[in-house]
């Protein structure tokens, strides 16, 4: 297992370096002058361009620029924001990351149990009615773009619910996520998290439940299932003790992979709901041509995704006795 993890760690490190190279050069190698892009394109004056060029050390050779950028990033010096005048990039990103993290946490808590349950039900009733209904649901409604479901949730569910007498009597409705201050506490934020988290749940639901279903179907065909059934063990016990244990193991990896889906889903969802998270910050940064902020956000996102994958590998190795041999 140590060997396996060491291999995975080397891979993690290599991938991380490569993606940092890609993030850096993607924004540099593209035709055009980054200083001019940041300064505002065609309308920028020569002095503005020069000022930004010297501020960001854009006149140094590219490899040197890359190394100093990576060094600054690793040390936590992410510069000050151009789009949000004077704000410290790191403070900005960590505040927004915490908000996105809360949203992701609620979304994961909703989606993982739900999609596992749906996947297991579908897998156990392969090609029968429950499976057909679940696969039709996951293929259609659930795979709609996040902004369609998000707008539906805002305009139909939230606004429809807020007007009715039952909502008044319960004193409970869905507050607008855009009204939440970026530095609110988790408790204050939670009521505004439900709807965006539900929209994010739908993104992951299709993916996790379909892979769980495939895992259950595959395990049901194994010899040991037939042996256990022929021994006279109750079907319930066979499913709970044998099939699910084996079928749910790969799901750990699936959940880690779907973190990457969740990240892109959250960008759209935060934009739709006006939620002050990392995704809406990224869109604002791109629109305002704040390249250093964009780079830092993408680096943070990639770090989260790669760390989730590494954690999943570790959990998989820890739970699966067969890995120890490799």
């Amino acid at each position: 297992m140590i060997l396996f993890l060491r291999r995975r760690f080397v891979f993690f490190f290599f991938t991380y370096l490569l993606s940092s190279l890609m993030i850096f050069f993607l924004l540099r190698v593209l035709p055009g002058d980054p200083a001019r892009v940041i300064a505002g394109g065609r309308e920028a004056t020569a002095e503005q361009v020069e000022q930004i060029r010297s501020e960001l050390r854009l006149d140094a050779p590219l490899p040197q620029q890359y190394l100093s950028w990576l060094g600054d990033f690793a040390r936590g010096d992410w510069g000050t924001s151009i789009a949000f005048r004077g704000a410290d990039n790191r403070a900005l990103i960590s505040e927004r990351s915490i908000n996105s993290g809360r949203l992701a946490l609620v979304a994961l808590l909703l989606s993982v149990p739900l999609s596992l349950a749906l996947g297991v039900i579908a897998g156990l009733s392969e090609n029968k009615l429950p499976d057909v209904i679940i696969s039709l649901l996951t293929l259609s409604v659930v795979s709609l773009p996040e902004f369609v479901t998000g707008l539906f949730l805002i305009n139909i569910v939230a606004l429809g619910w807020s007007g009715n007498p039952l909502a008044e009597a319960l004193g409970w409705w869905f507050p607008a996520s855009s009204a939440v201050p970026a530095n609110a506490s988790f408790g204050e934020m939670l009521p505004a998290l439900w709807l965006p988290a539900f929209a994010a749940t739908l993104v992951m639901l299709a993916y996790i439940s379909r892979l769980t279903r495939a895992g259950v179907i595959e395990e049901l065909k194994r010899d040991y299932v037939r042996t256990a059934a022929l021994k006279g063990i109750a079907w319930r016990t066979v499913v709970l003790r044998h099939v699910l244990r084996n079928a749910l193991l790969p799901t750990i990896t699936v959940i880690a992979i779907s973190i990457s889906w969740l990240v892109s889903g959250l960008v759209v969802i935060e934009f739709v709901f006006g939620f002050p998270g990392l995704g809406s910050l990224l869109i604002a940064a791109i629109e305002r041509r704040d390249l250093p902020l964009v780079q830092a956000i993408v680096m943070v996102t990639v770090s989260v995704i790669l760390l989730a994958n590494l954690l999943a590998d570790w959990a998989y190795a820890a739970l699966n006795p067969r890995i120890k041999l490799g």
């Binding site: 993606s19 773009p145 305009n155 993408v298 996102t301 990639v302």
Partner: protein, 315 residues
């Protein structure tokens, strides 16, 4: 017996045609995939003949009264003057929804096509040749795939759009097609990975060894020996990519990173009419959103059907 290239080509074509016929029948045998294929075909017809089908074929035709409610009467199937109403600028929503089909099909379809052609050539060559280049490219692909596609697309579109090109230069022409290019670039590594693993499997078969003994070139082996056997896997991947591409184009349009206004891009129309405008003209948001929803559902059901049909046929 010696088989000439022309003979082997014609036999492989007829084999593939029979395969396509079987796949089509399999596609329409299940209700889900038949529904999906019908939906996609419907929107494809709109994309091809939108200019003829739309009552007001100019996308930015503001000559109508603003904020007219939809005149569509489902009971009597009467369309009326403005079936889906008009938006706040006096543009016919029905015409704009019909006209919008062509851009999403063109961008997603061409983007997918480019990525499948280049990605499978790259991936199969990597898988067949192996060696350090395969190792290195494989790592680069893994690293690229660690960054979510939407994030990369947003960054690339956002940057390219802000570069200043001379008007009428080739760079400016490319920048107009930035979404299409970004989709092609994003999906090349994804397709390459699938093609590579297919090639790794196929190259162990005897007919590849036979071709190597005959002294065929690697290009011949990749395209004439490996490609025909890899087609089922590539078709499944292409349909999957197409469904993601449709999804991505709609999302980019909605986020304001697709075609610029006043183009009748469905995602853009949804974005332009949300928030406070939704109260004024809900139909101007609902109909394009419905079109996106139906197309995405259709493409998903169809690509799932294609996957099932190919798996059944290939086994």
């Amino acid at each position: 017996m010696h088989v000439t290239p022309a003979q082997s080509l014609s036999s492989s074509i007829s084999r593939n045609l029979a395969g396509i016929g079987r796949a089509l029948r399999a596609l329409f045998s299940g209700p889900q995939s038949a529904l999906g294929t019908a939906l996609v075909a419907f929107f494809f017809i709109l994309a091809l003949f939108g200019g003829q089908l739309a009552p007001y074929p100019k996308a930015n035709d503001q000559s109508h009264d603003a904020r007219v409610s939809p005149t569509l009467d489902i009971g009597s199937l009467q369309l009326g003057a403005h079936p889906f109403g008009t938006d706040r600028l006096g543009r016919d929503v029905y015409s704009r929804v019909i006209l919008g089909a062509s851009s999403i099909f063109r961008i997603a379809g061409l983007g997918t096509l480019i990525s499948v052609v280049l990605g499978s050539a790259l991936g199969m060559t990597m898988g067949y040749r192996g060696g350090w280049l395969d190792e290195l490219l494989g790592r680069v692909i893994d690293a690229l795939l660690a960054i979510p596609a939407l994030l990369l697309a947003l960054v690339m579109v956002g940057i390219i759009r802000n570069l200043d090109f001379e008007i009428n230069s080739w760079q400016a022409a490319l920048a107009d097609e930035v979404t299409l290019l970004v989709i092609a670039i994003l999906y090349i590594p994804v397709v390459a990975r699938v093609a590579r693993s297919a090639a790794l499997d196929i190259k162990t078969r005897e007919f590849v060894a036979a071709a190597e003994i005959r002294g065929e070139s690697s290009a011949y082996i990749v395209f004439r020996e490996i490609l025909p056997s890899a087609i089922p896997a590539l078709v499944v991947e292409a349909s999957l990519r197409f469904s993601y591409a449709i999804f991505l184009v709609a999302s980019l349009g909605f986020l304001g990173f697709g075609s610029p206004p006043p183009s009748p891009d469905w995602g853009l129309m949804v974005n332009e009419n949300r928030g406070g405008f939704y109260r004024l003209t809900p139909w101007a948001l609902e109909f394009p959103a419905l079109a996106i929803a139906l197309l995405v559902i259709g493409v998903n059901l169809m690509s799932d059907g294609i996957r099932r049909a190919v798996q059944k046929g290939g086994a």
